[in-house]
């Protein structure tokens, strides 16, 4: 009994040390999204091109990435070529132009190529607010039924895609197959 008590402080110390050590490598800016498992919020917004009005129903049918971006967002520029490449490979990507100047967005899309199958124009940031967006770029993974299944905050580069995200997208694609 006494012996057992003597190793107790050591045991407590070791447990704390493991937790604190792990804590060193956690990114506090990475928040778990409250939206995972919920359907994509309802919206009715024009396209960036201004040719029609989109609603959440337009995002259903195929598993897809929904990328939140803006021309004011410097890291979006880094991400953009990667999205272009993914779109070329057949990944379905929808874009939300978040709190942006529409003319600037049009210019950006013309200049850097448009990887998005649909361009949602969220000038007031209401859709972004309903999605719990707190910065850009953010990318949501939705399944064929339009339910949010995952979220990635930050720039998607090729390494991130290959090592973390490709498998998640593939799982959604496989799930959608009959």
């Amino acid at each position: 009994m006494k012996r057992w008590l003597m190793v107790l402080p050591l045991a407590v110390f070791l447990v704390m040390a493991v937790f604190l050590y792990r804590g060193l490598y956690l990114d506090p800016a990475e928040l778990p999204s409250a939206m995972i498992g919920k359907p994509f919020p309802a919206f009715s917004l024009p396209t960036v091109q201004g040719d029609k009005t989109l609603t959440q129903a337009d995002l259903q049918g195929k598993p897809a990435l929904v990328n939140v971006w803006g021309t004011w967002c410097i890291s979006c520029r880094v991400e953009h070529p990667v999205l272009n490449k993914l779109a070329e490979q057949g990944v379905v990507i929808y874009g939300i132009n978040y709190k942006d100047d529409n003319a600037a967005a049009l210019k950006w899309l013309a200049e850097f190529h448009n990887p998005y199958q649909l361009d949602i124009r969220d000038e007031d940031g209401n859709l972004g607010l309903n999605l719990g967006v707190y910065g850009a770029p953010e990318t949501f993974f939705i399944d064929a039924k339009g339910v949010i299944r995952d979220k990635y905050v930050g720039v998607i580069d090729e390494v991130v895609w290959r090592e973390q995200l490709a498998a998640k997208y593939q799982a959604l694609v496989d799930e959608a197959k009959p």
Partner: protein, 157 residues
């Protein structure tokens, strides 16, 4: 004198910089202003962590203040507004997290540790108090004689 005055004016003008996050909202009811203040103090900015949304200059915090103002105007109560935020940003946005299975450790952990500390202390103190009674301080006859000798010797010196 003039120099002091200049310094004072400069100091006063700089004081304004510290309160940069000021929006102008006109509240319909007087109580709403107080509730707005309370809510923006209790909700945390998702972007600039460790700041509440009343304090933060981040665009997202300004959006959330606007949203809270809108909901107050619609007559929503505090719980509805907090639920709205938690639905979107998760428990993270609350400085006072709700009491759930997940947050129980957060709420009761410190108290539990304090209690454990008190228990350990009581046990140790009790043991010490009991210890002398088991005869460990009573000396044998030889020992007592020797002690007296030593003490006497000391006083003789």
């Amino acid at each position: 004198m003039k120099r002091w005055l200049a310094a004072a004016v400069l100091g006063l003008s700089m004081a304004g910089v510290a309160h940069a996050a000021i929006d102008t909202y006109e509240f319909a009811k007087d109580g709403d202003r107080e509730r707005f203040r309370e809510l923006t103090k209790e909700l945390r900015c998702p972007k600039c962590q460790n700041q509440d949304i009343a304090d933060s200059n981040a665009p997202i915090a300004a959006d959330l203040r606007k949203e809270i103002f809108r909901m107050l105007g619609e007559g929503k109560d505090n719980q509805q507004i907090i639920d709205f935020m938690v639905d979107r940003y998760g428990d993270f946005v609350r400085y006072k997290p709700a009491l759930t299975g997940k947050t129980a450790l957060l709420w009761f952990g410190p108290g539990g540790l304090l209690l454990a500390g008190i228990v350990v202390m009581v046990v140790i103190v009790r043991r010490r108090r009991v210890a002398p009674a088991d005869g460990s301080d009573s000396l044998s006859v030889d020992e007592r004689q020797r002690l007296d000798q030593l003490l006497d010797k000391k006083t003789d010196d």
